[in-house]
Amino acid sequence: MSVFDGLKFRKVYSPIHNLDPRMKFAYVIAIFVVAIIFYQVIPLLVLFFMQIPFVLLARVQRQWLRSLRGAAFLAAFIFIINVVTTYFTSGYTFTAINIENSTAMTLRFIVLVESFSVFFLTTSPDHLGLALEESRVPYEFAFAFTTAVRFVPVLAEEAQTIMDAQKARGLELEKGGLLKRIRNYIPILIPLIVSAIRRSLELAEAMESRAWGAAKKRTNLYSLKLHKGDFALLAITIGILALAVYAHFNVAVPTVSSLLGF
């Protein structure tokens, strides 16, 4: 079940969780853009450290570190590929500048991962669905999204039940080579899919019975309102973007190697 634990959401209250998801998304996109604008280590490092106050305010350090650890393998891969290709393109030598550029590429990737993970760790699916609705995404899509999230734990539980039932009948999941192991899961998947389809029919029936599609203009129990914090975040976002664009055109960003005197 631990695999699915990460997909369960809990209601958490923190200054960051309470922010408007649209503002948070704008912030993430701004970080994304800035990370693309710069290819030097120093600004990327600044970007990296800038997320940490958000993580601490939202008290999601543990999950955040876990997601970074998940990205570590890919980051290492990016670093090595960069080092190797620059080794060949710059005449079979390792130069400090090349290593630094490779580090910057890797950092860029990490910054992207970290900012998106902060977004998803601090935005409840409920909020996200609401944001989708309010940004005029057709309600069907927003509904499909929240319902999918709602049924993840249900299906996970059901998968577990089916696994137990099939094991009780003598199915051995951890037996044989890779292909055989994959094939072992067929007796789990088929009942799971069949019951999911049956479930979706019942769900459709319940939706019909609760006046799905009655009014042209649907209303919503909740509404997103911008608070002080949201405006602050908006100001920060604009500030970062403006500063980044200014620095990009007017400031010669020094490299770490030049600062160290290589």
Partner: protein, 283 residues
């Protein structure tokens, strides 16, 4: 005119060889508490689906006869129109809740009808309190027990302020105590707000005492309809496979052995206990 009137209704699901409901006629008056029972596959669930137009709009298939519910012909009015008049609560509580929080789920029908936010908030809070789930309104459906989930489902249909609530075996996934609590909620709605209730149930032990209009179905037909005391003391009812309340069975056994109790057949243990106490006092 009665609140629900069904005349010679016959319905066959698409692809089925024989009809699931066969020549059913039925009248339900406003404010009644109707109990429908019968063995599995007798057409109870199909009948429930007829009340709000899921049959034939959602299921298609072949329908003959007339149905009028709350003055509306369900053949001409879609399920979403009927939803304002008839609330349907299903058997499996898990598959009728789709939102990420309980209050959002309760609001679902109102949102669909385009009710404005202030009014929606008022109605949602009201029904949450009526069904005793106000304190858990921000939880997610998968975090609460089956009994609570079923209360959410009831609250959700109640929010639309229907005249009729139809419950299709609402307690078959629940333990006896949660079931009893659900029945009490339903009975209170019927008693205090005059909502017409149609309850499909196997657990007559817990529910027979609430009704004076019992319907026994078998093989798509209504076999018996009327006073539960009379129907449940009928030997044929037991043979169909209806779970006769234990108090009623015991009463019959005692009567056979010659113990003379107060004449009315009891429907619950409490009634039987009273009769026994009375009999013992006299002797």
């Amino acid at each position: 005119m009665a609140l629900i009137e069904i005349k010679n209704l016959t319905y066959t699901y698409p692809g089925a060889s024989k009809p699931s409901i066969n020549d059913v006629s039925l009248k339900v008056e406003k404010g009644e508490f109707v109990l429908i029972t019968g063995p599995s596959g007798c057409g109870k669930t199909t009948l429930c689906r007829c009340f709000n137009g899921l049959v034939p709009h959602f299921y298609q298939g072949e329908l003959k006869g007339e149905i009028s519910v709350a003055g509306l012909d369900t053949l001409k009015h879609h399920t979403y129109e009927m939803a304002k008049h008839v609330g349907l609560v299903f058997q499996n509580p898990e598959n009728q809740l789709f939102a990420l929080s309980i209050e959002k789920d309760v609001a679902f029908g109102l949102e669909n009808n385009g009710v404005d936010r202030v009014e929606m908030r008022r109605r949602v809070d009201e029904v949450l309190q009526q069904t005793g789930i106000y304190d858990i309104r921000e939880r997610s459906p998968h975090e609460i027990s089956g009994g609570q989930q079923q209360r959410v489902a009831i609250a959700a249909v109640l929010a639309m302020e229907p005249e009729i609530i139809v419950l299709d075996e609402p307690t078959s996934f629940l333990d006896p105590l949660s079931a009893q609590k659900i029945f009490e909620v339903i009975f209170k709605l019927n008693r205090e707000q005059g909502i017409t209730v149609i309850l499909v149930e196997h657990r007559l032990d817990l529910t027979a005492k609430y009704t004076n209009h019992l319907i026994v179905m078998d093989e798509g037909k209504i076999r018996f309809e009327g006073d539960p005391r009379q129907i449940l003391s009928n030997e044929e009812t037991r043979l169909i496979g209806v779970g006769i309340p234990k108090a009623t069975l015991l009463y019959q056994m005692l009567k056979k052995e010659g113990l003379n109790l107060n004449n009315a057949t009891p429907l619950s243990s409490e009634e039987l206990a009273d009769q026994l106490l009375e009999a013992l006092k006299v002797e």
